[in-house]
């Protein structure tokens, strides 16, 4: 088992003719993911580097796609999300970064009462090792196993997954939820899925400064998850009031510090690693303990 991405995942790449869309369509396919094709309005019917091109997501859905991944530049990314939401894709992964927060407020609100799940924007996507990947997570670093990973950071996910794999610990599914202030799925949404997933025995939570999502996640782990977790929090040395790359990574009004988040995890009985390598070791200890 796994969450979000599995053997039945059939991908439509929105913006398949662009540089990133084109490259990652190929990468996903090479990893074993079923890529139905992609969209580029006005190019429907063409073949782009071996992939069928559709004018709309609805047409890609008719051709079998149930999952969208968005590599469209920021000016078109919101429309791309709406298109996939209207087409009722099961999963929508938005890689694009730099989307205005108010736009995301509306996008997330529009999901109410609709069947789609949205991961991102500004995220690396989802990988179920050995099965399929949707997004840009390098396939080589992951290996199948019992650890679910959920993360606000892309490259940090790679570090942690790589460290886990190096210790011989595989992953059920790794989900990069992205570093924006208003993401689609958040920690709780993802943890809820991991809770129900029989293949996941332990969850790694990778947080960072800004907001209170880590504190809420710690509470959920303590009271609801029913599985052990280990955590990492980036940004202990970040100065207040400065946006650290991610739109959501900012300590404002003295709130959202790494120290608060680490304390919340520890109070919930969740060990916090000081480095990605230490996180992997903590996971290993928990799994064998």
């Amino acid at each position: 088992m796994s969450i979000l991405v599995n053997e039945g995942t059939k991908v439509c790449v929105q913006g398949i003719t662009g540089r990133d869309g084109s490259f990652h369509a190929q990468q996903m396919k090479e990893y074993g993911t079923t890529v139905i094709g992609g969209t580029r309005p006005g190019k429907g019917g063409e073949i782009h580097e071996g992939f069928p091109v559709f004018d709309t997501v609805a047409e890609a859905k008719s051709a079998g796609a149930n999952t969208s991944v968005i590599y469209v530049p920021v000016a078109g990314a919101v429309d791309a999300m709406y298109e996939s939401i209207e087409a009722e894709m099961d999963l929508i992964v938005c890689i694009t970064e730099g989307i205005p927060a108010n736009d995301m407020v509306r996008v997330v609100d529009s999901l109410r009462g609709r069947p789609s799940k949205l991961v991102g924007p500004n995220c690396p996507g989802v990988i179920t090792p050995g099965v399929a990947k949707v997004g840009i997570i390098p396939g080589s670093i992951a290996t199948p196993g019992p650890v679910g990973v959920v993360s606000r950071s892309g490259t940090l996910t790679y570090e942690v997954v790589h460290a886990l794999t190096s210790l011989g610990i595989g992953q059920s599914t790794c989900v990069g939820i992205g570093g924006d202030q208003v993401p689609g799925m958040n920690f709780i949404d993802t943890l809820t899925l991991f809770r129900e997933d029989s293949a996941t025995e332990l969850v790694v939570i990778i947080g960072e400064i800004g907001g209170a999502d880590e504190q809420i996640a710690a509470d959920y782990v303590a009271n609801e998850l029913g599985k052990p977790a280990v955590a990492f929090v980036a940004g202990q040395t970040a100065p207040p009031g400065k946006r650290m790359g991610h739109a959501g990574a900012i300590i404002s009004g003295g709130e959202g510090t790494a120290a608060e988040k680490i304390a919340a995890f520890q109070q919930a009985g969740i060990p916090v690693g000081k480095t990605p390598a230490e996180v992997a070791e903590l996971a290993k200890a928990k799994l064998s303990g």
């Binding site: 990133d20 990652h24 920021v74 000016a75 970064e97 205005p100 927060a101 108010n102 736009d103 407020v105 509306r106 997330v108 609100d109 109410r112 690396p124 840009i136 390098p138 670093i141 993360s151 606000r152 950071s153 892309g154 490259t155 940090l156 790679y158 790589h162 570093g179 202030q181 208003v182 993401p183 958040n186 990778i206 960072e208 400064i209 800004g210 907001g211 209170a212 999502d213 809420i216 990492f232 980036a234 940004g235 202990q236 040395t237 970040a238 100065p239 400065k242 946006r243 650290m244 790359g245 991610h246 739109a247 959501g248 990574a249 009004g253 003295g254 000081k274 480095t275 990605p276 390598a277």
Partner: protein, 380 residues
């Protein structure tokens, strides 16, 4: 992006939110003329993009035109928290009966806007939130319906304590929400919102923070940018499409990904070093990004070593290596470089670095350890 009080008040005024009559002045003479036009007493308010202007002496009341001119002269010469005061706002003083607080901000936990109101205004609202949370009204706004009178009526009636004042506050809140959505703000704040002696509700101060990601669709707001308040290197980095934050240490960091960049800084600190900066080259791996990153970091004379930490996903290690080599050539780098390259096209990248005599560390831990040792050695 932050904008000045007088700019925010102009937006408030256009939206129909009551504000005191005022004039902007860049010199003591202009300030004097403005005070004469408005008629004293007036407030002379420094326009700088930091809080705590009042405590720093940046806001004064003048009872005469001469006094206004004198205050303006004093304030226009000031620096407040390192920022020069270039303009003052001259404003008719208001007859303040009560000071309250009203704001709308994006709230991450509800993924929607949140209105905050308090009968305790004119003070640090974060302090109130900590010490007297019950003194703050919190109203989540459903983005599908927006802020409608019924949404905020209950909270504002409690806060204003009076039907008529509540009606005025509801109208102001609705306009504030309009500004928040139309201009893609991350915060619109009135602190203090005042009740005058004759029962009018008015914005005595005005603060608007804009969502940087949305500025592309508000070119008229981009023009309001005050570069005084920005670190020139951060501005330079932004123009080069890099995320950069200057710090006080001696280890210059170049990392891909914000989370990894923060984790790298943290690890430097844990290893006994001090990062000189946060720098995320982002997902794209064009070599000139590394070149620009090196250039910006090397402007800081405190930097004693450069730590490059790359985990290639969408980023390709060979591109990074090419950028680093170009930078070495073009910038004449004198400080040592410690590199760690993993992920996409890793072996190509390492080989390229090796060809110019740069060894790559095997792990992040090793790279950080080496960088800290070099920095200490250099400073010893």
């Amino acid at each position: 992006m932050k904008i000045h009080e007088h700019q925010a008040k102009a937006i408030f005024g256009d939206a129909g939110i009551p504000i005191p009559e005022g004039r902007i002045a860049s010199s003591a003479e202009e300030a004097g003329r403005a005070a004469a036009e408005l008629g004293p007493p007036v407030a002379v308010k420094s326009q700088v993009l930091v809080g705590g202007r009042g405590k720093a002496g940046g806001i004064k009341i003048a009872d005469t035109v001469d006094e206004a001119q004198a205050h303006a002269k004093a304030i226009l010469g000031m620096e407040i928290k390192g920022l020069p005061v270039r303009k003052v706002l001259i404003e008719k003083t208001a007859d303040i009966d009560r000071e309250l607080y009203l704001s709308i901000a994006l709230d991450r936990s509800i993924r929607a806007p949140l209105m905050l109101g308090s009968a305790m205004g004119g003070v640090d609202i974060e302090e109130v939130a900590k010490t007297q949370p019950e003194a703050i009204e919190r109203v989540p706004i459903d983005p599908e319906f927006g802020l409608r009178p019924y949404t905020v009526w209950g909270a504002l009636r409690r806060m204003m304590g009076d039907q008529d004042l509540a009606k005025q506050a509801v109208a102001i809140a609705a306009k504030l929400y309009g500004i928040f959505m139309d201009l893609d703000c991350s915060l619109v704040e009135i602190n203090p919102l005042i009740v005058t002696g004759d029962g009018r509700v008015m914005a005595l101060d005005a603060k608007i923070n804009l969502d940087d990601n949305a500025l592309f669709r508000h070119p008229q707001l981009e023009k309001l940018r005050d570069t005084d308040a920005e670190d020139p290197r951060e501005r330079d980095a932004k123009e080069s499409d890099l995320s950069f934050v200057a710090l006080e240490g001696e280890i210059g960091c170049i990392v891909n990904g914000a989370g990894l960049a923060m984790a790298t800084m943290d690890m430097v600190k844990h290893a006994g070093g001090e990062p000189a900066n946060f720098l995320d080259v982002g997902g794209s791996s064009r070599p000139e990004k590394v070149l620009n990153a090196m250039r910006i970091i090397l402007e800081d004379p405190a930097v004693r070593v450069i730590l490059l930490n790359i985990f290639g996903g969408i980023t390709r290690c060979d591109d990074i290596a090419k950028g680093l080599i170009t930078a070495k050539d073009e910038l004449g780098v004198e400080v040592p470089i410690v590199a760690r390259l993993t992920g996409t096209n890793e072996s190509d990248g390492r080989a390229l670095l090796k060809s110019v005599g740069l060894e790559s560390a095997a792990t992040m831990e090793e790279a950080v350890g080496t960088a800290v040792k070099l920095a200490k050695g250099a400073s010893a």
